[in-house]
Structure formats: C-alpha cells, structure tokens
Symmetry: C2
Subunit: 256 residues, 2 copies
Amino acid sequence: MKRIRIIVAYDGTGYCGWQIQPNGITIEEVLNHALSGLLGEPIRIIGASRTDSGVHALGNVAVFDTKTRIPPERISYALNQHLPDDIVIVRSEEVPGDWHPRYCNCVKTYEYHIFNAKVPDPVRRRTAYFVSYPLDLGEMRRAAAYLIGEHDFASFCNIKTSVEDTVRTIYELEILERSVQGPEDYRDGREIRIRIRGNGFLYNMVRIIVGTLLRVGRKYYTPEQVKEILEAKNRQAAGVTAPPQGLVLEKIEYPL
Amino acid sequence: MKRIRIIVAYDGTGYCGWQIQPNGITIEEVLNHALSGLLGEPIRIIGASRTDSGVHALGNVAVFDTKTRIPPERISYALNQHLPDDIVIVRSEEVPGDWHPRYCNCVKTYEYHIFNAKVPDPVRRRTAYFVSYPLDLGEMRRAAAYLIGEHDFASFCNIKTSVEDTVRTIYELEILERSVQGPEDYRDGREIRIRIRGNGFLYNMVRIIVGTLLRVGRKYYTPEQVKEILEAKNRQAAGVTAPPQGLVLEKIEYPL
C-alpha cells in the first residue's frame, strides 16, 4: 500500500465545490470515480481544501492509498486521460503513509480576481468578479494592513460553521493591479488581484474579507472601520461575501 | 423606422458561432429572440462578422430596424436584461437607414491568445490555446513580417469557401508576451497574444496564420518558408488551423 499525493487544478464553474454532496457533481466525486476506474480498486481521496461551489484552484492537494504498480509520478499523466478538461492533475508523488493534507501548520495562498471597468467582459465572467464602480486601492491597502497578523477573525467567518477557535494568522495581504486596454477607450479597465496568504482560513473568510475591502474601496467604510469590524468579532459587522467565481486557491505549502 | 447599431461582446464557448444554423444555438438566434421579445416586433439582425463556433468577441457589430420608441442609447441596457450572461451589449445607437455593418472598407482587429507553459491551467482553457512546447517568438515575429501588407492569402483560407478574390491587406501583426508566475516554479509560463489588424479576413484566415506561426515558433518551418507558403497560394502549403477558443474579435473600425 502506497500513499500518493496529487496536486489538482480545476475550473470550479461546473461543480458544486470539492466535497461530495447530494445536490450536484463535485470535484472529489469525479476524482474518486476516475481514480477507481484507472487503478481498478475503490479509491477515496482526502482533500486539503474543500473549496466552495464555483471556486477555482491551481493547487489543491489530495491523497489516497493504493496498491497500484503504476509508478507514482506517472499517475498524474494516466489520470488526466480519465478526467474532463476542467480538472487537471498537475503532479503526483508518493508520500509517507502517515502524511495528511490537512496538517494544521500548512500555509494557503488564495487570489481573488476583480475586473474593474465600466462595461463587463463576458469572457472574464467565470474567472473574475465584475465591479463597475470606482475603487480606491490606496484605501483598500490601508484597510488590509489591519488584517495582517494573528487575529480573531470571527467577524469574517460564515455563521453556518461552528468552529471554536476563530484565531488565524494572515502573513500577506497584497492588492495588485494591472491596467487593461479595451477595444475602445470607454472600455479600458483594470484587473485587480487580492492575494492573501495565511495559516488556514475560516469558512468564507477570504470572500468576506474581499467583500469588506470592496466596501472600503467604494468609500462606504473607512480603513479604520475595518479595524473596528475585526474587533467586533461578529459576522454582522463585516461586508457581504464576495461571489465565488473570482476566487482561486493558488497553493498550499507544507513544512518539509 | 430606425436603424440601430449594437456592439456585442460574448463568450463563444457555449454557441455554434454567430450565424443561425440547424445544429445548435447561435449568438444571432439568441439576439433575434431577445430583441423581438423586448421590442414586441419581429427583429432580424445583420451581423458584421460571422464568428465560428467557440470564438469570442469583445466588439462584434450588428444592426436592425425597429419602430420602437425606446431611446436608441437605452436599448443596450434594456436588452442586457433579456440576455444570458455570456452575451453583453456594450453600446447601442442610431445610424443612418442605409448604414450596413459589412462595408467592405472596414478594419477588423483580432487577438489570438496562447498559454505557453509546461502544465495546462484549466481556468484558462476556454480563453487560450494551451501550448506546452517552447516557442521562439523572435522567429515567429520574423515570419509575421512576411504577412504584413497586401497579399493573396489563398494559402490561409479554408478551402470550404468559394471567394473569388483572396487578396487582403494586413496592417499590423504583433506578437506580444507577458510572463505568468505559477504557484510553483515549474508552472511558470507566459501569455502570448497574436494581434492582427486588417481589412477583412478570409474564412479561418487568422487561425491558419496562427497555426502556421506556431510551426515557426516550434522550428518546424523557417520564417522564410512562410514567404514561400504565401506565394504558393495553396491551403495545403500552410500549417493547421489553430483551435477556436484562443480567438477574440476585438473590434471593427468603420470609416467615419
């Protein structure tokens, strides 16, 4: 028996998220099915991050145990032949039998993509949140600074979960921009990426942070109010949850 | 009766191209249906460019005649409420009753997007052609130079058409690149955009040019061979047609 770790990239548009559930098709289910078919034994993977419906990933991580004689590094190639083109196995390798993808001391990086322009671009609609109002990125960066470090993020957690410990550490929270030239001047815009790296995130935490920062960018909140929102430790205090299509799980780093 | 011109952007993934046809749903059909419903009269639009299945547009152009009393500039807004989110009307305005979107002296700009990396990115699969082999952009640019200007592009025309005159003028043919940092080093890559501006294009011409330039980038053809391919005036001489998902009709310019 070998434990295999896979790095998985996917376009989450067509899936009800990672985790198996009765209402629709999920990434986990498709991977279990493809792996069981490929390896000729029932496979149940364990994923690192149970991304939500519509959320994308460049580097989610999962493991499974198998008796296969296919060399571990070749499994990614073979498995990709059995997968739809919106799921790609980037890499496969053997790990020790006790290695688990949900180590509490792993570090996750997410990016949230916003297309900020006067006119929406339908080609971007699955991979970026369209925002038509002007955004003050300077104010957003000042607000973001309050969130960096170890804090109780209870205000930024979907109330549907029941975690006891809502303390997390954000190591980096960057707001990057790139101007985009449209076919005509009135369609010029910019791509904004909110890049966030931390030691685990609460349910919907990245999307609530983004929704809150967007309110700052719109001058609906001051940066200082984000400090108050954080201190309130109450979900009602923060902004709305930004929609899923802008979110990408970039990578998960594990201690060596 | 008023003639209204609309600028249309769309994600072509879910459509069998622009033009109405029996095998599946098309952009033209969806627009006719939405306009007829909105305006309460049967509307048949005339499009400028009959883009292929899977090809996108930021600025296709169409006209229709209507008796509506909705102000011309407001039609875009009203129509967007009746359209799926993969089609967006960017602008609407009244034009003279004899204005036609297929004026022979209009200038079209296309962009072809390539994602060049070792590992595919499923999030980009609908909007870029994934190329895993190395590409020599210097050689591609030298080859592209032979195509700029007025030429007989018979070698770059799908043989299924029967146009008599295969002479066209390419004003610009640029190859641009932007490096893309992946979540890990081995996933770094680049976005390549082949931008082409000309006075009309033959059927599949842009995609055959791209397929041919990719063979140059791969060192399968020399740049000088592209000159020979052009002079051969024979479709068999050129490279394969690049797939549709990388292609975007950026804009159509009309003489004032």
